[in-house]
Amino acid sequence: MRFLPSTEQREFARALDGLLTASDTPAVARAWAAGDHKPGRALWGRLAEAGVFGLAVSARHGGMGLLPAELTVAFTELGRHVMPGPLVETVAVAAFLERLDAGAATEWLPRIAAGEALVSLCADGPYALDADAADAVLVVEGDTVRRAEGHGPAQASLDPARRLFRPRGGTVLARGPAVTSAAGHALDVARLATAAQSLGLGRALLAQTVSHVTRRTQFGVPIGSFQAVKHRLADILIALEFAQPLVHGAAAALAAGAPSAGREVAAAKVAAGEAGHAAARTALQLHGALGYSEEPALSLWIRKARPLRDAWGTPAECRRRVLAG
């Protein structure tokens, strides 16, 4: 057993980190929030070239098969760089269509793998993320799945880069127990990808805050020399360091098709979501009024932490799942 990222996985992370750093993702996220999806779609294509979306698509549809470990690597980087858009939803739809193997699979999977299709998903609550930007919105209700025809008005949330829409109408694509089962699988993939995003988001928040408290002086010293500041940041590092193996372990369980996979994914989602949320709270507190202002890029990370914690299974839902055994 060697429970660490492989050399390839570490190189994949570095490559994505480099690509995203060079792409000025904060500007992409601000444009996205303002309704300008162009820079986001352009970057989406480059991410596909780097192999991100193929990680949930089988070889026959142009992908590499479902690779949960690599998916967590990719989504950690996407979270670290506050990349906007229906990222989680697109890979969850891919996992769903792969399992369902309906006609829609042939239509959408190659386009997802190639980064040509942004697909949103409404399967957990009434809303679909970024339905206005998506090329398709799938809606799962009970044992049916349909492709929505349109959507209601945007529902603004505290993270302006995450706009929610109520999907409308559409025709049924498939129905039956296969839909329910594929949706359950897609939910696990969505949770895992969201957990990884929270983890990356938390890492970025910690790094930015460490850098800030080292530079910012008050009372004649860097505020990072105050013990109260040190201990808050130590707590965040601990939370992230112990969330990470849960995320990696959940990916391994999902890859192995272990019966415990749903529980492990739920545990990872709780730990990573709470760690990301705590990191945002601490980043805000230690940046003070600067952290509470929209203008510094930090606000992009702070605002995303709580929505990610709650998306695709609130901590409460996931805790119940953990205890359900």
Partner: protein
């Protein structure tokens, strides 16, 4: 340990309740952080003032009712229970006015308090600077002596309400050569449309322009707009800060009303959601009640003293309030959002937002609580050193 209200207190409560029942707008006003909402809130202040509800604790000559501290607490309870609008005049009434009463001149009070109470002049605060947040004594913006007044220059930031307000008050360095940094500061006031003032609105976390940056370039401030002695501004400001931290800014009524709404939300939630949140909801209810009773005790102490001699000033005990209410407010709103699920994050401009986005807005607001008016870290240092007598150390 008497909790019984006097006849006068009960009458006051009845009068406030019935006035509010008749006047509180049925639909929430538009957001305070928009030009339209600001105007609507200003109009509400005018209506409050017309019937002397704007500043109940002020003397009657300035438009108040000479209400006691307990009566003020009662008014706040009724105000929040009635779901009345946020107070756009808060900076003036809660922060500037106490300083004017303590350190201002009769002429200043006669000139400034009336328009403040009537919402004709809305005040912004101008404390912080980019390099002086928690460490307020390190202010750099300066006031240079000129004929009949001062020329004020520098940059202020996170100036709350300044995006739409009329005037501002703050501290400026009038003597750069003092042995200690909190000496040589002067407390003064200026119009936000004066020559030399540039106001740049700043968005808070959710993007709403709740504050602004102020760029000041030789703004003339006449002597009549200096509060207290030039160079003695720190003392006057600290009495204001004490008010901000302590009894006045965060009235118990706000938390009692929010805790009741939270408990109602919890009772309506499905068992599987409500069950695990039981303790957190109960703690919010208990905390709000504790804060209310603590407020009564503080009011009693200020009025009649522990031994029958009024203490007049909360001193470092104000830090207890600050830490308690800000943590209570945050916990309460975190719990509310957890009860509501992801939809709780929908903002007031989402038409499907639960309670018109009130919980989401309250959450954003609560996030600032542990930061402003002296971070909770600094408050805890003060509590440890001044109330518990622990040795001062480097923080």
């Amino acid at each position: 340990m008497d909790l019984e209200f006097t006849a006068a207190e009960r009458e006051f409560r009845d009068e406030a309740r019935s006035w509010l029942a008749r006047h509180v707008p049925a639909a929430p006003l538009p957001s305070l952080e928009t030009a339209e909402g600001f105007a609507a809130h200003r109009e509400w202040e005018r209506r409050l003032a017309a019937d002397r509800w704007s500043a109940v604790s002020w003397p009657e000559e300035h438009g108040g009712r000479g209400a006691s501290l307990v009566q003020w607490l009662i008014f706040e309870e009724e105000y929040h229970a009635a779901g009345a609008p946020g107070r756009v005049s808060q900076n003036g009434i809660q922060l500037l006015a106490p300083t004017l009463f303590a350190h201002g001149t009769d002429a200043q009070r006669a000139r400034l308090l009336g328009p403040m109470a009537r919402g004709e002049v809305i005040w912004a605060q101008a404390w912080s600077e980019p390099e002086a947040g928690s460490d307020l004594a390190s202010l750099r913006s300066k006031a240079v002596r000129t004929a009949g007044g001062w020329l004020v220059s520098g940059q202020k930031t996170w100036s709350s309400r300044a995006a739409f307000a009329d005037r501002a008050f703050g501290l400026f360095r009038s003597d750069p050569h003092t042995p200690r940094p909190h000496q040589g500061l002067t407390y003064l006031m200026f119009p936000l449309d004066a020559p030399g003032v540039t106001v740049r609105p700043l968005g808070r976390l959710d993007g709403k322009p709740a504050f602004a940056e102020l760029f000041l370039d030789e703004v003339f401030v006449p002597d009549a707009d200096v509060i207290g002695e030039p160079g003695q501004g720190w003392r006057a400001a600290m009495s204001t800060a004490g008010n901000e931290r302590g009894l006045t800014l965060r009235s118990p009524g706000r938390f009692s009303a929010a805790a009741e709404r939270l408990a109602a939300l919890w009772r309506e939630a499905p068992e599987e959601v409500a069950g695990p949140l039981t303790d957190r909801v109960a703690d919010a209810v208990i905390g709000a009640r504790a804060y209310q009773l603590f407020g009564y005790a503080q009011a009693s102490r200020l009025t009649t003293g522990e031994d029958g001699a009024p203490t007049g000033d909360l001193g470092a005990a104000a830090s207890l309030n600050k830490v308690f209410w800000s943590e209570l407010d945050l916990a309460l709103h975190e719990t509310a959002l957890d009860l509501l699920g992801p939809a709780g994050m929908l903002a007031d401009d989402a038409d499907e937002a639960p309670a018109h986005g009130r919980w989401a807005d309250g959450y954003t607001f609560s996030l600032a609580g542990p930061i402003y008016a002296g971070t909770n870290e600094i408050q805890c240092d003060l509590i440890a050193e001044r109330l518990l007598g622990l040795p001062k150390g480097r923080r």
